[in-house]
């Protein structure tokens, strides 16, 4: 009787172990799959949207500075003050202005980030049409 019980217990213990192993492997695979999916989702959905939003911020800020006539002053302090008064605090930006007359101006933050930097360029004109300039801008998250 004792012998029979020990045998039965051993048999049940083996099955239990295999079942446990099966469950552990299954749970592990499920976790790996979910992690992989969320990783893909993060990489493929969030980043391009975030990058697009960074670009749109740079583009809108530049357009606003042009529209307000701030860039046309070609004055470093005026433009820097104008820029940081409207740029959201999460962002930083660098602007490189080149004019037909040969004058150039660079201002804004230092590009120390290793993360995504969006860039673009817009054209503006000095109010009396005496000069034409391009403003190349670079924008990133702080």
């Amino acid at each position: 009787m004792t012998e029979k019980m020990r045998h039965s217990s051993l048999q049940f213990g083996n099955k239990g172990f295999i079942l446990l192993l099966d469950v552990v492997i299954a749970v592990f695979l499920v976790i790996v799959s979910i992690t992989a999916i969320s990783h893909f989702s993060e990489d493929l959905y969030e980043n391009p949207l975030r990058d697009m939003s960074i670009y749109k911020t740079g583009s809108d800020i530049t357009a606003l500075l042009i529209h307000q006539g701030v860039l046309a002053t070609l004055d470093e302090n005026t433009i820097t003050n104008g820029l940081y008064s409207i740029l959201p605090s999460r962002y930083d930006m660098y602007i490189d202005i080149t004019c037909e007359s040969g004058s150039t101006l660079t201002l804004g933050g230092l590009m120390l980030t290793k993360d995504f930097v969006a860039s673009g360029s817009q054209v503006f004109i000095i109010p009396d049409a005496s000069d034409y300039c391009t403003a190349a801008y670079y924008v990133w998250l702080r």
Partner: protein, 288 residues
């Protein structure tokens, strides 16, 4: 017990299959979204550059040509203010040429062509394609409003506010308002911002008419003439280029509102290319 184990394994197997399928589907969809966003990113960049060039050219043209276009959406009118003859051709040509050279050298992907405007000063109302043009080139003594179809399909009234130079106004011929047609021509003669004569003519555009503004210190041929050649063209001509007149031509739209229309330079004038996705934005310069 065996049955339960098999069922459990099968359940886990199916769950995994579902999870893997959704992962693959998700990856595929995400990749498409990423590519779509990448394209949108490029389209946005192209559009932003195009818009800023257009805005700059609009300012440049307004300043250098001396032609001012104003839209009054409330009463469905467009006003073109200009000088006859327009004296700004040399400075406009030089400014446009400098601007084009600068932009095309700064952005090799951009082509600007303002030949049509630089030579004729032609402004177009879209989609009707009614042209406000300087016949024979910017600086000529004739300004015309012409179209490929009868003008009164779009406009039923034109008003000419003419500011005289120092020379005194003598008379307007015909002196009495004429006709019972369905197209109105209003002529307001003013000097030093004071309206001195207002005449209203109701003409039939199918018949040719001439309205002459005569100046007193000259023979009859000195002054201005407003005339239509059929239903597709109304002109205003400076009969003697020794004087310069300011003309404010206001046209009143017939049926639809200004919301449906755009005013721009004739012909396609800005092209911005992006070779990465073979995208090209091409269009005319909108003034309004």
């Amino acid at each position: 017990m065996k049955k339960k184990a098999i069922l459990f394994t099968l359940s886990i197997f199916f769950i995994l299959i579902i999870v893997l399928n959704s992962a693959l589907l998700n990856t595929d969809t995400a990749e498409s979204s990423r590519l779509l966003l990448q394209d949108m990113f490029i389209f946005d960049k192209t559009h932003d550059l195009f818009s800023s060039i257009e805005e700059s050219m609009r300012t440049l043209i307004e300043i250098k040509s001396g032609i001012n276009v104003t839209v009054h959406p409330n009463n469905n009118t467009i006003t073109f203010v200009d000088e006859i003859p327009n004296p700004n051709r040399p400075q406009l040509l030089s400014a446009l040429s400098d601007f084009e050279t600068f932009i095309e050298s700064s952005y090799p992907s951009v082509d600007i062509d303002t030949t049509e405007f630089a030579h004729n000063g032609t402004i177009t109302v879209y989609p009707d394609t009614i042209n406000y043009t300087h016949v024979g080139g910017l600086g000529s003594n004739i300004i015309a409003l012409n179209a490929s179809s009868p003008i009164n399909n779009t406009f039923n009234r034109t008003s000419f506010l003419i500011t005289l130079p120092d020379t005194n106004f003598s008379s307007i011929l015909p002196a009495a308002p004429i006709g019972d047609g369905d197209f109105e021509i209003e002529v307001i003669i003013q000097s030093k911002d004071v309206a001195i004569e207002t005449h209203l003519y109701r003409i039939d555009l199918d018949t040719d008419h001439r309205i002459t503004v005569v100046l007193d210190d000259a023979p009859v041929h000195k002054g201005l003439q407003i005339y239509n050649n059929g239903s597709q063209k109304i002109s205003i001509e400076n009969l003697d280029e020794s004087d310069t007149f300011t003309s404010a031509l206001t046209v009143t739209l017939t049926n639809s509102s200004m919301m449906d229309r755009e005013i721009g330079l004739a012909a396609e004038t800005i092209i911005v290319r992006n070779t990465n996705v073979n995208h090209k934005k091409k269009g005319y310069i909108r003034l309004q």
